[in-house]
Every structure is written in C-alpha cells, then in structure tokens.
C-alpha cells in the first residue's frame, strides 16, 4: 500500500488546488462586475492617488537581503551536517565549526554597520 511519498505530496497539491480553486473562480460568475473608475481606484483613504505606486522602494534594507541569501546557504549546509552529527566522529565536525567561525567575520561586519549607521 506504500505509495511513493513524493507522489502522495503531488496528489495532495492537486487536491488542494482542485478544492480551493473554485472558491476563487466561481465568484467570478455570479458576482456583479461593473467597471467603475471610482470604485477601481486604489485605496488611499479617500484621496485621489498621485504618482507611481511602485516607486517608493526602501533601499536602506537591501544589505539585510544580501545577508539573507548568504545565511540561507549556510543554514542548508548546517542542516546537512546536523542530521548526521551523531553518526560521524567528533573530529569530522571541526571543519563545520571552523566554517561557522569564519562566517562570524562578515556577520560581525554587517552587524557593526547595522548598529553604527542609523539608516539600516
């Protein structure tokens, strides 16, 4: 009776899409749809929207995104090591600890920047 678990995951995804999709598509049929420039206007507390909506970007947090990419990779490496930590001899874990230790330098620099500068 054992189905391949990945196949079960795919069936589960299909079931979810098949059962929630109608919630989105069916209202399209019965809901009244009358285009009206005032109702379709973006919400700005009753004001008429001015300017481009997609241009107010906060540049100041960009470095955090860069750190996120780096530590995403590090996290995945640590998981691969962590699940076999009890199965490998202890000395084999030293490179990983060295790996973490080496990463402390950019982390420290980034946090130093983050704490010293008020802008990010």
């Amino acid at each position: 009776m054992a189905l391949n678990p990945w196949l079960t995951v795919i069936i589960w995804a299909i079931v979810v899409i098949a059962l929630t999709g109608p919630m989105l598509t069916l209202p399209m049929f019965w809901s009244r749809r009358k285009p009206d420039p005032f109702r379709d206007m973006p919400f700005e507390s009753g004001q008429v929207p001015q300017g481009e909506a997609r241009h107010r970007l906060v540049m100041q947090y960009y470095p955090y995104l860069l750190m996120f990419v780096a530590f995403d990779v590090v996290g995945m490496f640590l998981f691969a090591w962590g699940m076999s930590f009890t199965k490998i001899p202890l000395y084999a874990s030293f490179p990983v600890l060295l790996f973490l230790f080496l990463l402390a330098a950019p982390l420290g620099y980034a946090l130093h920047l983050a704490l010293r500068r008020e802008n990010w």
Binding site: L3, L66, F68, A70, W81, F94, V96, L98, P106
Partner: protein, 170 residues
C-alpha cells in the same frame, strides 16, 4: 492503492515546464514576469532532483534559489526598473539575434547529439533508494573538509564585497 503513473510522462511534463519557463525568463517583455518564470524554471529543476533521488538537493534548490535569489532579483528589478525602457533594451540589434540563436542551437544540438550517440553505452539506472539523505551530510562533513572551509571563505568574501558595494553612501 497503487496507481501506475508512467515516469516518462512526468519527466516530459517537467522538462516542458522547465524549458518553456527558461525561455520565458529571457524573452518575457516585463522583467518581473521574467523573474517569476525563472523561479518556475528553478522549481522544475528541483522536480528533476526529486526524480534523481536527491530530495535534499531539491529542497536546497527551492529554499536558496526560489526563496532567496529570486526574491533578491525581484527586489533589485523593482529598484532599477523604469517604465517602458526594459523592452527596448532587450531587442537584439540587426543580425545579432540570429547569430546568437545559431550559436546556441549549434552547441545544444552538438551536445545532445553526443549524448544521444553515446546513449546505448551509458549505464542503466541502478534501483532507487541507494542514496539515503543522511549520507549526504556524512560525506559533506567527513570527506570534504577542505572545500567546506574554502566555501566559508568564499561566502565571507562575497558577503563582505556585496555589503560594501551596497552600502548607502551619504
């Protein structure tokens, strides 16, 4: 319940999704759509990794590429985006498009041809389940310590460089 789904069918669907999304990533008019198509292409590759008995790599692919790199790309696109200029920028000049197409097509056909010619001599697949997930961590930590340390240096250097580049100048 046992439902026999031919693996070839799943493979063909995956390949079609991956390749079409990769083409769209380069050809979509709007850069944002291109980035989304790139993400879908990465997810297709993750599907191939599941097929190839490497589920951990598939999860790594989704978490790192789709969850982090595509987010960064989208954010950068929103920072540098300007209305209408993207499309003009990507239209090939003169015969450039044709030359590029020829070059790429020739290369791809040559490699695929070699692969197809070598096909009968290539090994058939051993039964699945020979690659338990935990063996990856075992090999990673126990057999490749030096690359791990070099990778730490690489990540440190890249992160420091990127941080210095992206520092807000006053």
């Amino acid at each position: 319940m046992e439902i026999a789904i031919p693996p070839d069918l799943v493979f063909v669907i995956l390949a079609a999704v991956t390749l079409i999304a990769a083409v769209l990533a380069l050809q979509a008019k709007e850069l944002i759509y291109g980035a989304i198509a790139l993400g879908i292409s990465f997810i297709g590759i993750a599907g191939f990794f599941v097929f190839l008995d490497a589920p951990y790599l598939a999860m790594l692919q989704i978490a790192v590429y789709v969850g982090a790199v595509v987010v960064l790309i989208l954010f950068t696109i929103m920072l540098v985006r300007r209305e209408q200029s993207d499309e003009l920028l990507d239209r090939p000049e003169g015969g450039q498009g044709a030359v590029g197409l020829w070059l790429a097509g020739l290369l791809a056909v040559a490699i695929a041809g070699v692969a197809a010619l070598a096909g009968p001599n290539l090994p058939a697949a051993p039964p699945a389940g020979n690659l338990p997930v935990s063996s990856l961590g075992l090999v990673l930590a126990a057999e490749y310590p030096i690359p791990l340390v070099i990778l730490a240096l690489l990540i440190s250097a890249a992160l420091l460089g990127a941080l210095v580049l992206a520092k807000v100048e006053k």
